[in-house]
Amino acid sequence: LLGIENTEMGPFPRAFPSWATIPGYFWLAGGRRWHFFFAWVFVLNGLVYFFYSLAKGHLGKLFLRPRDWIKIPAMALYYLGLRRASPQQEEYNPLQKLAYSGVLFILVPLIVLSGLAMSPQMDAGFHWLPAMFGGRQSARTLHFVGTWLFALFTFGHVFMVVATGVVNNMRSMITGWYVEKHTPAAETVGTKVVVDEIAAAAEPVREASPAVAEAEPHIEAPGRETPEEKRAEEKNDAE
């Protein structure tokens, strides 16, 4: 019991406060309508993302491989501010891979399957579906917990997008362009060289190669790209 709704008939106890529910007033039927509509959006969007990323080779960059596990502590230290230089070597660092792989390959399937396990029609066709969760009521619990974990991930994801430069990140999600601020070690404070990383987009290595770092600082305008480059950039989608 986390909220009270003021109705015409006086205060009404609610499991969740009005601001957290759609619709805001207590109406299970209406809530179900929103739920199933966005369940379709969620699943169709997820399928498009999955297969497009798979075809473009993007999924491979997100996938947490056994060799990434060992790199997690160093990355975590950097995030916690206990380590100065970023140990990141690839486009996605091991913690990003952990988060994205966990959500993509474990959490989302769990949410979808536990949701379907609550359907009497699905359960008639697939008796193993509720059984794999230990019954319909455990599926219901896991569906609920999974939703919170997904909300937590979304919050963290949006926070990081905003905190690490919302304009740059949004641009890279949509166009594949990511402008990286690069500070050579011997440089005086305040002088920043903007290096366009797109030149290196064909390679999965995110860090500026010495060749790029030494080159004249330049910013490429999006208008100058050839279709060939455009395709290469899309692969670099940083979402």
């Binding site: 039927a29 179900r32 379709w40 009497p120 029609q121």
Partner: protein, 261 residues
């Protein structure tokens, strides 16, 4: 001194938190969603996925896939009796008092044979016993043993005309405003082997709380489809002339007519 090279500066964290809070505030605009909920176009867009759910789930599950049947030991000790309080109509009360001796299941609509069936006649038809899980839209589920006549046995005897598309269940019970409970299913579910008109629950005559003398069991849908206190069956081509026209008491309140999920 070298400059602060830590991955997130304080300023950035603060900015991120503020902007994140802004997004949360947007999500909290329940006035906006309440307004959208009242909008007819938005509502019909939201409702449009009901048909997609029905087609997809039925396709995935297969036509006559049987709901899981459980064992005696799985039967729930407590089975919530939901919905309207037991009917108070005089006819119903006298029927209950006389053990349904004069009661008949009415048959109406697009059928060749509209003679009703007495309880002994229904009990004399082939019976099916199943221990199944009842899933309520509220979230809970309960397991019970049901015995009754498969609806297809009744349908075979009444011989519906070709135009008939739905079986409507008219019930004795009413809500506090006097609206009668009714439900409807299409022949896809009506002919399902586990769709029965139950007259026994857990080896005893169906108790009044659970819909005596006869209730519907549709094991592929949620509990609110399983009409209790059935008076008569009506075979129709369309459901728009009954109740508020959406095919069921709860569908009239905004719930899905197809409750397979």
């Amino acid at each position: 001194m070298t400059q602060n090279k830590s991955f997130l500066s304080r300023r950035r964290v603060l900015a991120g938190a503020l902007q994140g809070a802004g997004l949360l505030w947007l999500a909290g605009c329940d006035g906006l969603f309440n307004g959208l909920q009242q909008n007819q176009k938005v509502l019909s867009l939201l409702e449009s996925v009901e048909g997609a759910n029905r087609r997809l789930l039925r396709f995935l599950a297969g036509r006559n896939a049987l709901a899981q049947e459980f064992e005696e030991k799985d039967i729930s000790r407590y089975f919530k009796s939901n919905g309207n309080p037991p009917p108070m109509a005089l006819e119903y009360l006298s029927g209950a008092a006389s053990n349904w001796a004069d009661w008949k299941l009415g048959i109406a609509g697009l059928v060749e044979q509209n003679e009703g069936f007495s309880l002994p006649a229904i009990r004399a038809m082939p019976a099916r016993t199943q221990i199944t899980r009842h899933d309520c839209v509220e979230g809970w589920s309960a397991i019970a043993k049901w015995k009754g006549v498969p609806l297809h046995e009744v349908i075979r005897r009444v011989r519906p005309r070709a135009e008939a598309q739905y079986v409507v269940f008219h019930c004795w019970d009413t809500d506090s405003e006097g609206n009668a409970y009714y439900e409807s299913i299409d022949f896809h579910d009506a002919l399902h082997p586990q769709t029965i008109l139950a007259y026994e629950m857990n080896d005893r005559p169906l108790p009044v709380a659970h819909g005596a003398p006869l209730r519907l069991r549709v094991e592929t849908q949620l509990g609110y489809k399983m009409a209790k206190y059935i008076q008569r069956l009506e075979f129709v081509a369309r459901v728009n002339q009954i109740g508020q026209g959406r095919g069921g008491y709860w569908a009239d309140q905004g719930y899905e007519w197809y409750a397979g999920i």
